[in-house]
């Protein structure tokens, strides 16, 4: 039997509630006179989430189809590129990973449209240099340096 998305999400939420419930028990309780302590709101949130998840799990589903097979593949590719860009920023830094990411994102997002390579190159260089100077020189805000360099 194929599970609908909302029921699957409810199951994930129930799993999260179990994990969080045990974690809540480890929170230091420094409750003083009248103060219910740091565990109250987490327990409350977990209870409400549990009840709502069970209601959705045992009632009629109203979720519709989200993506077809090709759409799922595209979504995974996009999320994968985002993860790689994140790792690139953390380990390689802004100046190395951003030009690569911009080029990848442009060619990924263009789909069937034709992209002039010179315009794309200008966009890669312009965006990287522009953002670098805007943040570091303009706003005096540090950009990722990269752990490896």
């Amino acid at each position: 039997m194929k599970l609908k998305y909302d029921k699957l999400f409810s199951l994930l939420c129930l799993l999260a509630v179990v994990v969080l419930f045990f974690n809540t028990g480890t929170i230091r309780d420094l409750a003083s006179n009248g103060d219910p302590g740091a565990r109250l709101i987490p327990y409350l949130g977990e209870a409400v989430l549990c009840i709502c998840s069970l209601i959705i799990l045992f009632s009629k589903s109203d979720s519709t189809s989200f993506l077809d097979k090709a759409g799922w593949l595209k979504l995974l590719i996009m999320l994968g590129c985002m993860v790689l860009y994140t790792l690139g920023l953390i380990y390689l830094g802004f100046l190395i990973s951003t030009p690569i990411a911009v080029a990848v994102f442009i060619y990924l997002l263009k789909e069937d449209e034709k992209v002039n390579p010179i315009v794309a190159l200008l966009m890669v260089a312009g965006l990287t240099v522009g953002l670098y100077f805007m943040f570091t020189k303009g706003f005096s805000i540090l950009l990722p340096q990269g752990k490896l360099f």
Binding site: Y5, D6, F9, S10, L12, C13, L20, T24, I27, R28, D29, L30, S32, G34, D35, P36, G37, A38, L40, I41, P42, L44, V48, L49, C52, S53, I55, S59, D62, S63, F66, G71, W72, L75, M78, L79, M82, V83, T86, L89, I90, F94, A101, V102, F105, I106, Y107, L109, K110, E111, E113, V115, M123, L127, M134, F135, F139, I141, L142, P144
Partner: protein
């Protein structure tokens, strides 16, 4: 009054005016392009404002807010596709009017309707804010707790689809707000040994992940919309007649009031107000059959209301510290970043700053009017910006923005996690708005609850014995129970009719 004039003076300083102008233009573009909106623009601007002065920051953020809400009507009129959810109802009459050859008139009605709604709402809001703030000072933690619960339950109950999903989203938001140190005793919660989570989930990372990354990923997976080209030769002059406004005074007034009220209610905003206002205008019109065929009344109802909602949303933000919509939630975060705490004391302690926000909205509305009337002919070019360049810029800025918010690479991981969560929620039909509202109010709810119980020996009972607190809790309960109980009463009525017929 003196503070208001001083605030307007700050708004009219050359540097602030320039920044406001740039961000109004950017806001109009964000509002006009389907898939983008002013809240996304504000999320991207927020990290940039960290290094700027308070005045410069708010000029940029308010400019983006005003431009973003106003710009939504452009693609609604030209293409029949709303640029933002706040312009859905504008499509019903704006596009048909354009198809009849009256594009200039439709755009003109949208521009001037937006201006009327924005200016009048901001003026009324600035007057009401002081009164509400004074009333709010009489309230204690019990009333604030109940007000926050009422706000979340109203939003959850009005969520599209089932209420259980809205409340589920609110519970997730509440749990996310618990990550980090508890506000009273400083105990670490849900950090799982990770020091980076000690400060909690960053607001910027949440907003960028939920509203930008997930939307771009979904838009790419579903296929970016192919927007048809539009011939701009039809757009000439201002296009509107004085009679378009004088004959619709009643609609303009009712839309203003509806927008103000819905904007005031936490978590609702322009997306709801334009639909409610359009429906009301149609049901009370002398010629309801003209709605949907390209009538001026329909466009005015939508545009006056959606811009009035921005003024309404400012009232709870400044007077109570509760955001009226997602954009004011981000403005609230900006206030916190600059060392200000929104709430009833803000107007007393920082009157010029409080009125400055209203001032920027007012001046922004005037700039929007001038810019849109002057460049009306070039609106179709905004819709020709290639998605692959636009989305790439936004993606890179999201990652940089989330990093600079806390200066930690881990914040980008948090942003990705929120984006995946937002996609899962979208797939399941679980709305995002209750999550965001509960996340923002979560810490305050806990603080008020625990303080309320500590201040009194009666514990929980105090929340029910204080009249104002009890009223808010009853409204919260009614908003959740009524939709559940109403079908039962309706069923009972139907079965009685069956018996009577027999």
């Amino acid at each position: 009054m003196a503070d208001y004039i001083a605030a307007l003076g700050v708004c009219l300083e050359p540097m602030n005016l320039v920044l406001l102008f740039i961000c109004v233009v950017a806001g109009i573009i964000f509002g006009a392009v389907p898939g983008l909106n002013g809240s996304l623009g504000i999320s991207l601007l927020l990290p940039i404002t960290f290094g700027l002065s308070q005045n410069a920051s708010f000029s940029m953020l308010c400019g983006m807010y005003v431009g973003g809400v106003s710009g939504g009507f452009i693609s609604a009129v030209l293409l029949g596709i709303p640029g933002t959810p706040s312009a859905i109802a504008t499509c019903y009459d704006g596009h048909p009017m354009s198809q009849k050859g009256e594009t200039s008139r439709a755009l003109g009605l949208g521009i001037i309707g937006s201006f009327i709604g924005e200016v009048l709402a901001v003026l009324i809001a600035s007057a009401l804010c002081t009164i509400i703030a004074d009333l709010a000072l009489m309230l204690g933690p019990w009333e604030y707790f109940s007000l926050c619960i009422c706000a979340i339950s109203l939003v959850a109950a009005l969520s599209k689809g089932r209420m259980a999903k809205g409340i589920m989203a609110a519970a997730i938001g509440l749990l996310l707000s618990c990550v980090g140190l508890d506000p009273i005793t400083g105990c670490a919660r849900f950090t799982f040994g990770n020091k980076a989570l000690t400060g909690g989930i960053d607001m910027t990372a949440l907003m960028l992940g939920a509203y930008a990354l997930s939307q771009i990923a979904k838009s790419y997976a579903k296929g970016n919309p192919k927007l048809q080209a539009f011939d701009s030769r039809n757009i000439k002059g201002i296009g509107v007649r004085l009679k378009d406004f004088t004959s619709n005074i009643k609609t303009i007034f009712s839309s203003l009031m509806i927008g103000l009220w819905i904007g005031f209610l936490p978590g609702m905003g322009s997306a709801l107000s334009n639909m409610v206002s359009y429906s009301f205008a149609k049901s009370t019109s002398k010629h309801p059959e003209k709605f949907g065929t390209g009538c001026a009344e329909g466009i005015l109802a939508s545009e006056v209301s959606n811009n009035a909602a921005t003024g309404g949303a400012l009232i709870p933000m400044i007077a109570l510290g509760i955001p009226g919509d997602s954009a004011t939630a981000l403005l609230l975060a900006a206030l916190t970043i600059h060392g200000l705490t929104a709430g009833p004391l803000m107007i007393q302690q920082h009157p010029v700053t409080s009125y400055m926000i209203f001032g920027f909205m007012l001046v922004g509305a005037v700039l929007v009017l001038i810019i849109e009337l002057v460049v009306k002919r070039w609106f179709p070019y905004i819709l020709r910006i290639p998605y692959h360049y636009l989305y790439t810029i936004i993606l890179v800025m999201c990652f940089i923005g989330s990093f600079t918010s806390t200066n930690m690479g881990f914040n980008m991981v948090v942003m990705l996690f929120i984006a995946v969560l937002a996609l899962l929620m979208d797939m399941s039909g679980v709305p995002m708005t209750p999550l965001v509202l509960a996340f923002i109010l979560g810490e305050k709810i806990e603080e008020y609850l625990r303080k309320g119980m500590t201040y009194s020996s009666e514990g929980f009972a105090m929340f029910f014995t204080r009249p104002v607190s009890l009223i808010f809790l009853l409204v919260a309960a009614a908003s959740i129970l009524l939709p559940v109980l109403k079908p039962l009463f309706t069923k009972g009525k139907l079965s009685k009719e069956w018996v009577a017929d027999d």
